[in-house]
């Protein structure tokens, strides 16, 4: 019996000493430990920029199916038609024809990308603050957060608003567009001057002071859309702050080294030049996302002949838009139309059908603004993306002056842009001139939807769309998935 007791004793001893079931972590960092270090706080800021480059379905621009595609295809400067060979889903064409449903994947992707970006920015603000980081860094994180909210109210109107990740999700209300606008403005006023004045180098692809003011100018420029009360003078003031940063237009002249024949297209090459670029998005194929805009437009054989990889036969510019370009506009060189020297391809400018039965394979004018820069592969190229550049600023300055009833002051700004494109100077300038010039200069750069709404052209008929588009379409619907996940949300009118 003694023996038995001994065995039981030993057994229970072994049992009691082995009851620890805490988790071991070997190959990851626990959140609190990671961010507690200065390097962690710094990285929290880098992570926010990582959101902007992102990747497929979750990025600002470069890859497909997120912010850039949503805001571009809903406008009139580009579209991907369904092909009568069965290629391409209808999402892009339905955005263009404004027949999409609130369940459209791109809308959901954009919403999710923006809110995960807000989350990251909140992390960065909180961690940099608690790490007592340099004020410029904290300001940078706050400006980034404001920028995501700006993109949110621009697309969706009234949206959930919070700045602290420890807020209980059930207590976060859908906040008025104007309220968030006021937050953005006050956040910018408080922080932009704290940002670094350095251009390029360590601040390439980051919010420096000039990018900050450019962002502020964009917010004021669209104040009328967001709040009903325009703020043209504030916009012009902000523009002038940017201009004081010493930017100039990059040379545009003929250049045989450029694949499209003009130095102008350096702006959309591997690295955005510091002279004109105010805020760039760094992209490097398969390292930091990638840029698909060139390869997505080319057809298979033409892509193979030009860059060694099958083109996707996707994006085109419709003839209505293309035909507005002057024949001598150097910016028209970005389009491929008619018989091509390589790949045995002829791009037909007339598109027979967008949705059913779809366009013939070679229908549509192609855009090579982002002529693939190395490294390139079948899924994209390494062109950086200019989010804001000086030409945009000049046209904003022109617009503000016209809006403020001072068109003569607007002339030099718009003519500078036209001169580079080898177009004759205008002698008078109207809002329509500015609107059209923005179209020519900024085509395929993701500005078109915002411009169309601000200039009051979003509801116009467009090629393949014969009935006017309802005003309610000026806001995208709150994605169905977000509505299902959060009963506190109300759908935008008209959906």
């Amino acid at each position: 019996m003694k023996k038995i007791l001994t065995v039981i004793f030993i057994a229970s001893l072994a049992a009691v000493s082995c009851t620890k079931v805490d988790e071991n972590v070997y190959d990851k960092y626990e959140s609190n430990a990671f961010y507690a270090t200065p390097a962690g706080a710094d990285n929290a800021l880098a992570t926010v920029y990582g959101k902007i480059s992102g990747t497929w379905g979750s990025n600002f621009a470069g890859r497909d199916n997120c912010w850039y595609d949503l805001n571009s295809f809903a406008a009139d400067d580009q579209v991907i038609p369904h092909r009568n060979t069965g290629d391409w889903q209808l999402d892009f064409a339905q955005l263009y024809t404004q027949t999409y449903q609130p369940s459209l994947g791109l809308i959901n992707n954009t919403w999710n990308w923006l809110y995960s970006s807000v989350y990251s920015a909140n992390v960065a603000v909180a961690q940099l603050t608690s790490a007592n980081a340099a004020p410029s860094k904290i300001a940078e994180a706050k400006v980034l957060r404001a920028w995501f909210y700006y993109l949110l109210i621009d697309d969706f109107g009234d949206v959930p608003f919070y700045t602290d990740n420890n807020t209980d999700a059930s207590k976060i209300a859908q906040t008025k567009r104007a309220t968030i606008y006021n937050f953005i403005v006050s956040e910018l006023k408080a922080n932009v001057d704290l940002l670094s004045e350095t251009k390029g180098g360590a601040y390439y692809g980051r919010f420096n002071k000039w990018a900050g003011y450019m962002f502020m100018a964009k917010v004021y420029l669209n104040a009328g859309v967001y709040t009903g009360t325009p703020a043209w003078q504030e916009a012009l003031d902000a523009c002038n702050k940017v201009a004081s940063g010493g930017f100039t237009l990059h040379a545009g002249g003929a250049n045989t080294a450029s694949p499209l024949g003009y130095s102008y297209f350096d702006l959309f090459g591997d690295v955005c030049p510091d002279d004109e670029t105010i805020f760039a998005l760094y992209l490097k194929e398969n390292i930091v996302s990638g840029n698909i805009y060139g390869i997505r437009s080319l057809n298979s054989a033409n892509g193979n002949a030009l860059i060694g990889y099958n083109g996707w036969n996707g994006t085109i510019i419709l003839n209505q838009f293309y035909s507005k370009f002057s024949a001598n506009d150097i910016r028209r060189q970005q389009f491929l139309v008619g018989q091509q020297p390589k790949g045995g391809t002829t791009y037909n400018p007339v598109v027979s059908s967008l949705i059913s039965p779809g366009a013939a394979p070679d229908d549509g004018i192609r855009d090579m603004k982002f002529f693939p820069a190395a490294p390139v592969d079948a899924s994209g190229a390494s062109n950086d993306f200019p989010i804001y550049r000086f030409a945009d600023l000049l046209l904003m300055q022109a617009e503000c002056n016209v809006r403020l009833g001072n068109p003569s002051a607007a002339l030099p700004f718009i003519n500078r842009v036209r001169a580079r494109a080898t177009l004759a100077d205008l002698t008078t300038v109207t809002l329509d001139n500015v609107y059209d010039e923005r179209g020519f200069e900024l085509v395929f750069e993701g500005h078109r939807r915002q411009d169309m709404i601000r200039f009051g052209h979003y509801q116009d008929t467009r090629e393949f769309v014969t009935a006017p588009i309802p005003k309610t379409r000026e806001l995208f619907p709150i994605p169905v998935n977000a509505l299902n996940a959060n009963p506190n949300l109300k759908q935008n009118p008209g959906y």
Binding site: I4, V7, S12, A14, A15, C18, T19, V21, E23, N24, V25, D27, K28, Y29, E30, S31, N32, F34, G40, A46, T47, Y49, G50, S53, T55, S58, N59, T85, G86, L90, T99, Q101, P102, S103, N112, Y119, N165, D168, A169, S170, I172, A202, Y203, R206, Y282, I287, V288, S300, Y309, G311, W312, S356, P357, P375, A378, N481, A482, N484, A485, N486
Partner: protein, 985 residues
Amino acid sequence: MKKIYLYKYGLAMLFLMCAIHSFAQNTFTGKVLDETKQPLVGATVRSKEGSQSTVTDVNGVFKLVNAAAGQITVTITFVGYDVTEQVLSPGINATIQLKPSSRNLNDVVVVGYGTARKSDLTGSVSNVTSKDLNPGPITNPLQQLEGKAAGVDITQSGSEPGTAPTVRIRGITSLQGGNDPLVVVDGVQGNMDLFNQVPPSEIASVDILKDASATAIYGSRGAPGVIIVTTKKSAAGKTSVEYTENSSLDVIAKKLQFLDAAQWTQEANSLGVDVSANHGSNTDWYNLLTRNGYTQNHTLAFGGGANGFNYRASLTAINQSGTVINSKFSNYIGRITATQKALDDKLTLTMNLNSGTNYYTYSPTGVGNAAFTSNLITQAYVARPTDPVYNTNGNYYVDPNVFQYSNPYAVAQTVSNNNQINNLFGSLRADLEIYKGLSVGWFGSWRKIDSNNGYYAPAASTLTSAVSYNGQAHINNAHTDEKLMDINLGYKRDFGVNHLDAVLVYEWQQQTYNGSYSAARGFINDIATYNALQLGTLANAQTGDVSSYKNDRSLISFLGRVNYSYNNRYLLTASFRRDGSTVFGANNKWGNFPSASLAWRIDQEDFMKSQRLFSNLKFRVGYGVTGNQQGLFPQNSIPLVGQNPTSPTVYFGGALISNYAPSQNANPDLKWETKKQTNIGVDFGFFGDRLTGTVDAFTSNTDNLLYNYTVPLIGQFLTNSIIANVGSLQNRGLELTLSYDVIRGKDTRLTLAGNGTLLKNKVLSLGGNIQGFDVATDYVSLGSNAYLQVGKPVGSYRILQHLGKDANNAETYVTQNVNGVPDLSDRSADRADAGQSLPKYTYAFTPSFTYKNFDASMVWRGSGGNKIYNGVRQQFSILQYIGKSNVLQSAIPLGIESAQYNSDLWLEDGDYVRWQNLSIGYRFNLTKVKYVNALRLSVTGQNLALITKYKGLDPELVGSNLSGGDYGIYPRTRTFSVGLNVIFK
């Protein structure tokens, strides 16, 4: 040898002493033999008069001392033999020969941490012994169980070499991937891949624990059921050498009918496809990519022993070549198990060593382009019959005008996709009898799995990714280390008519996982394939090309079970287990899993003694709580920061740096799923067990359902989903097993047997409160238009209804929307309810026939009540694609040129009946041959017929695929095999 002599003399002395004692008491002796007149060791001999009992010794001899003056009656019991009664007279040495049991009620069933007699079972357990296992070309032991047990659904989609079937015991009870049963092989616990280490012909029995009262002893791992495999052991004192072989020819059972070159040309012309798409060849791509396969299975087993020692060893080789070219599988397993007794036979040591290697050459998957990616063989449908295989220069043909054209024959011939898995496990069990039925035991096992995968796609493969970088290679090494240790205390004793059997266990287990992955691109030639990654071009390196990981999980358990029976009539089993696991959240580290069950053996009652109708009647009822933690992985509950997997690098501060991101929502409340199951069952036998059967009815509710619940991306939620325990799921079922001996003669026996299962599955709730936020989860898409929907079965279809065709021959749909654009959102009113992806019933019919040395058996099995979304038919029925792809012959009469959405046009009934197995064998008794004892020859056909209305390749593709979508499977084979079994002297 010396010891045996001593033993004999000692025994003789004992007899002598007994003789002296016989003045006071009588001594009854005897010898128990088996059907071949060999001594039976360890048979229990129990006297009816004085309730003494003893067991036979190594010579089959027993002795009982009884006060009775005259004769006594003893019952002799031995596993696998009929209980025999014998009248003994004092002083006369009786010889008693036992007959192998015709009914297996006394069979021992392994119930987890112990064994029980089948007749004592109170829970629902299916027991399949080696003689009932499916014969034929078996590459995975699960194939031997197909159709053999009610409520145990074993399915396999396609016959790719080395792919394992899927097992679902009593349906889908979890959503987060945790429906695979726990596998226990000779005490070693593991997941389904443990079957890779079990030689099919070395299985002695398989016990499948189905209801919660049986599985609760496995606590937080028991909910999906438990499969316990017991391998063959050598009988003590016998030497045996046995060789088993099976060779089969595997042919493709069914092909889909696609256009040939002439038909394609005609159709392309009539649809106005540009002539440039017609390359004028006549290629049968499917035929080019397929062949007849073969499967070989060899096992040499031998064993023997003496002096309280015995061992069994075996070597197995399984080789399979697939029906798609360049796909094959080999499995080599060596095992040895040995038992040694010591300390006057009170200590039993059992060791087990098992080592095996699996080689897989998989047919590549993920082939094609962005529009249609599939496994390799399904790409054979994409290739136009008019495309040549080679260019005139001898290179593989590609059409530059087709986006990302891939040549499937080039892929098959040039891509290397090899996987090697080395398995090793060892275990040691020590059992010590301490005092009058009290025993203590220790068990430890250690299992190691090393897997090494190499992949190389050269530019010649025509795959876009490989062409881009002139060759692409990667290797993937993974290491798993699983340790288990338990200490147990057992007590087994009879007190008069009371029988008590109790066990207490402490168990500790830990699994460690680590591994690494490396990739390289750009090789100047294809000689070294994936074996020299350093030869790749450094400039082509991408983020994610190098990675490694390590994590672990531990489970600590305290458990106990009591079996009590009164007078062999009333049986009670109660168990309790307490589990603590590292993968549970900080607030829920420990869980309790109790169970209880009762059984009443009505046939043992006095009032049943006089009737002749029932030979067995037992009523069972049980309830238990089990858990499931398979869906939880290490570090699921804690907030982590890791490299952002989708964008691992960020440009910041003028440099490329690693991009970190919070990767997971914290959930300190995370825990196991809780499954509560009630089972009521009846076991019966009529007419002297000519008709036997079992009926079980059960209801199980899975609460705290683990799922990746969708949460809004605001506030504390950093991603759109959080793993949490919120919803609940219900399964109700009815199982019936019947067996009837139509002929039960001395030489002839014909048995008709079968089983059937009805299953009803329902999502009870999906929403709930997660960290203060009320999630209203519902209508969760599972893919292929199948949904999780409250009040409906898992995988209920909600799909657009096909309306017809418009003027452009585009498919039209029933929509609420005036502009004809259907709303595809999950809760859309445009989606109509259209059945479920899970079968409502499964059944099997397993007749067998023996006449003298001849035997024959069949397995027919089927299931139904489900729908399948035929994605292949959809993809290849749209005529618009003909310019760049082939289409089905059936697409022509259908005449749909374009279809933008999924509709119920492609949703088909999934009912089927399969003639799974026919086997005929003959046993030659070769007692006169010098070295051979017996020889059995058999022929087996598998998958001989399939009766179904399903238009795809094979309707058997449910398994782990809750959405019931068919996007192309590896062909299912029909096999014809010859088997040989030789027992040497």
